[in-house]
Amino acid sequence: MTEKGIDLVKDETASTPGTPLLDVRDLQVEFHTREGVAKAVNGVSYSVEAGETLAVLGESGSGKSVTAQAIMGILDMPPGRIAGGEILFQGQDLLKMTEAQRRKVRGNKIAMIFQDALSSLNPVLSVGFQLGEMFRVHKGASRKEAKARAIELMDRVRIPAAKERVNDYPHQFSGGMRQRIMIAMALALEPDLIIADEPTTALDVTVQAQVMDLLAELQQEYRMGLILITHDLGVVADVADRIAVMYAGRIVERGDVREIYREPAHPYTRGLLDSIPRLDQKGSELYAIRGLPPTLTALPAGCSFSPRCDRATELCVTERPLPVTVTDAEGAPIAGRTSACHFWKETLHG
């Protein structure tokens, strides 16, 4: 137990009655590599409510995808290993379940959408068969029933001429259409939670907009929780309710999306927001965060971001900042907003 962030998560969820849909607590994942033990996820805690979109924002190697794989139970083990923590889904710890129990949750209750739809679909089976398989395996539907449901689903994700295309193979669809099929597959069993890992990164911008709109609309309709894993600050701003910013396996900042974009309370978040060029105005030189993310086998003792941080002091190098609740200018705590920075106040208000 390296992170004392659990308590903070609790008071965040205290405002809503009952347990959250998903509650990840102090999750730790390691990978055993040639160079040593890489701490990919290092005490991550977050929660998602039904009907809510949580964006997990981070660059490659931040541990955002590994966390999702741990939730889904599709982590490669070995080399991966869950070193600690709990993943409570509707109050039950997924990590304590048997493989058979987890299989029931996977697909049925929690579904995942991947970045690369082409490699996530089986190339030798028709799209209709793969969609229908969900009903046959989980619901015991007949072949005919399954096909009818598959067409229904394809209609639902607005694939034109679903009836004619149900027997087509994945490669016969365009990238955007394949991603719709992935969404249809995720939706098939009406799960309570969808994890979307960079769902639109591989798509062109006009298609990306179509797919994101569809996903948001379906999420509202089915009141699902959505975890959107992405590095795209634009997509996050467009659809997220809350965000968790990850860096080197830890959540450095979390809170309401508008608040964080308006007033980031962690130097990393601020740096990210300042480093992207704007479409709507021509800026001068971009702010660039210097250096590179730390190697996960040799994380700094203090704040992982300190070697790249303009604000870092001796304190940051020696002592790792724990997440603290951020307060507004009057000193009142902001619900659900935390920052893991010794100088969050200066970052926020300065």
Binding site: G61, D197, T297
Partner: protein
């Protein structure tokens, strides 16, 4: 996407990457893909075992006299006819017993090594050179050159390997190592050509080849500096595995009596001799067979280990 972990995440700085762009002392020594592969191999038991076996085989093939003092042709029909092995007398002439002509099986096994190793290595060398060159040209230039070469390769691939070798060898009166080597090479180069062609096609589309072209690099520079070094890995692996196959082919041909024959020494022909006394003296058959299998196994294991070490997906 099961490999979206650290290793699979394309944009992750390699775990051992240089830490900072501007500052910091350079840690560690320069590494290349080959030195990485070597580091991997050194720790692999299968590689160490196979390597040791191959090393011993090479020494035996080069200096058989170091291992036994008797001639493999010295026969003592009266005293040693089908004499059973004396398994406790290590490395003595009687260790593995005697054959039907009273010759020391141990000496014959030792002296038979050279034929297998020499033929295996020479065939592989020829095949690598010819097949590699043809495959590289076909793969790099593409178009009609590739179409013509590929059809020729297909034609050769259509010939059953052993049957083809038999047909070729039967037409020679004297069948020495050279003839067998050539016969196997004529039929074997297509495998390498195919692998090399595929490998070159995938490498030539790499951006670094385009980059070299846009610098104005000539064809030979591109082929030798950019394409060949990057296309070699799968070819070497296939060649190592094929080497075992050539040794087995030589033994098979010699066994069938159309490869090496007396007075030349070959495990294959010794196995042939042994098969006649299989009920009374199994050892005549068994020891050359063990040696043959062990040799082939050593090269296959080596090829496997090298493939694993060079496989970029495991990097």
């Amino acid at each position: 996407m099961p490999d979206n972990s650290l290793a699979g995440d394309q944009h992750t700085a390699p775990v051992a990457a240089v830490a900072q762009a501007e500052a910091g002392p350079p840690p560690g020594k320069p590494r290349s893909l080959w030195s990485d592969a070597w580091n991997d191999l050194r720790r692999k038991p299968s590689f160490i075992i196979a390597g040791a076996m191959i090393l011993i085989l090479l020494i035996i093939a080069a200096f058989p006299g170091l291992f036994t003092s008797v001639s493999p042709r010295a026969s003592d029909l009266s005293g040693a006819y089908l004499k059973s092995p004396e398994l406790t007398k290590f490395f003595s002439p009687e260790w593995l017993g005697y054959d039907s002509q009273g010759r020391s099986i141990y000496a014959r096994v030792i002296y038979g090594t050279r034929a297998s190793i020499v033929i295996g290595i020479s065939v592989t060398a020829i095949v690598l050179f010819v097949g590699g060159l043809v495959g590289m040209i076909a793969g790099y230039f593409g178009g009609w050159v590739d179409a013509v070469v590929s059809r020729i390769v297909d034609t050769f691939m259509g010939i059953p390997f052993l049957l083809g070798a038999m047909v070729i060898l039967v037409s020679f009166d004297v069948r020495g190592k050279m003839v067998i080597t050539l016969a196997l090479a004529v039929l074997g180069w297509t495998t390498i050509a195919r692998v090399m062609r595929g490998s070159v096609i995938s490498v030539k589309q790499a951006d670094y080849v385009q980059a070299a072209r846009s610098l104005g690099a000539g064809t030979w520079r591109i082929l030798l500096r950019h394409v060949l070094p990057n296309a070699m890995a799968p070819v070497i692996v296939v060649a190592m595995i094929a080497l075992g196959g050539y040794i087995s082919a030589e033994a098979t041909l010699s066994y069938l009596g159309i490869g090496l024959a007396d007075p030349a020494m070959s495990w294959g022909s010794d196995i042939n001799t042994g098969k006649d006394q299989i009920r009374v003296a199994l050892h005549v058959l068994i020891f050359p067979s063990i040696m043959l299998s062990a040799t082939i196994l050593a090269f296959l294991m080596m090829g496997d280990a090298v493939r694993d070490a060079l496989d970029p997906k495991l990097r």
